[in-house]
């Protein structure tokens, strides 16, 4: 079993270790289309994607949010998300590798729960920000 995070050792301003995930290959976009039921061809049919005026296939925004979710739950080691919010600020292209960073911006107790609020972001290998967001996690 994974070791739980120690709430007492978390402080406001604490930076979560950076994690890289990817590259996001076409296979993953097909797998995600099937697992999520989002079959918009923009994500796996290059010809169709180009017709809409973009240079190639792009990742589903919700796939990137899911990857941010994994980043947070991996860090929280069994902590449960209470709130999770993402804004899509840039496209994640096929074959991009994303790096995830986060920071504890608030630590508090509410109704007996130990809570932390995290600010989180994903960037591509060429430093383009693709998502920004925040989460509240029960530790």
């Amino acid at each position: 079993m994974r070791n739980k995070l120690n709430f007492e050792e978390i402080s406001e301003g604490l930076e979560l270790p950076e994690v890289k995930k990817g590259p996001i290959y076409r296979q993953q976009l097909v797998d995600y289309a099937s697992a999520s039921g989002d079959y918009n061809k923009l994500h796996y049919d290059e010809g169709f994607a180009k017709q809409t005026g973009i240079s190639g296939c792009i990742a589903h925004g919700m796939l990137v949010m899911a990857m941010v979710g994994s980043y947070l739950t991996d860090w929280a080691k069994g902590g449960i998300l209470k709130n999770f919010k993402i804004r899509f600020v840039g496209m994640t292209n096929e074959n991009d590798t994303l790096s995830f960073t986060g920071k504890v911006i608030k630590k508090y107790k509410e109704n007996g729960d130990n809570l932390v609020q995290i600010e989180v972001m994903s960037k591509t290998q060429d430093e383009r920000i693709t998502t920004t967001g925040s989460a509240i996690i029960t530790i």
Binding site: M1, K21, Q28, D31, Y32, S34, A35, S36, G37, D38, N40, T52, G61, M62, L63, M65, A66, M67, G69, S70, L72, T73, D74, G78, I80, L81, K82, N83, F84, K85, I86, R87, F88, G133
Partner: protein, 148 residues
């Protein structure tokens, strides 16, 4: 084209679905999350779940309820559509074996001006409940940008 404001407050029919272990494993694999709690029942139980739990964004499968397609009902052209963002509020965990009922409501449609011209900001909220316990499980708040 501006969206029809009569859809503000519109509720789609609710949908019912049973969550399976296989679908959770399929989803976890697609997002390349190797956490054993999504694949192995014993690992889920060790973390205090009664079965395999859903990953946080698993409910993206249930973003829109009802038989009628959300986008065609509102008259949204996919080529003018951008996904603005998503918020989840989690009230209670959902695990494999649970049957859920979820329903989508159009919360608001507001016009905004952008560099690309006029657009409508659509906020749709989908609420999931456990069919058996009636417990509220999550709210998914979906922000869509639709250019005129």
């Amino acid at each position: 084209m501006k969206l029809d404001r009569n859809f503000i407050g519109y509720e789609f029919q609710s949908s019912e679905i049973s969550i399976t272990r296989w679908e959770i494993a399929q989803f976890a694999n697609a997002i390349r999350d190797s956490n054993p709690i999504y694949y192995n029942l014993n690992e889920g139980k060790k973390q205090g779940f009664k079965d395999i739990p859903c990953p946080p964004t698993f409910y993206t499968k249930f973003t829109f309820s009802g038989e009628k397609n959300f986008f065609t009902t509102l008259g949204i052209d996919y080529k003018k559509l951008l996904d603005g963002g998503r918020e989840y509020k989690y009230y209670s965990p959902c695990v494999a074996g649970d049957t859920i009922i979820y329903q989508t409501k159009v919360q608001s449609i507001d016009e905004k001006e952008s560099k690309r011209g006029k657009m409508d900001i659509v906020i749709a909220i989908t609420t999931g409940k456990n069919k058996e316990t009636k417990e509220k499980l999550w709210d998914s708040i979906c922000t869509l940008i639709v250019f005129h």
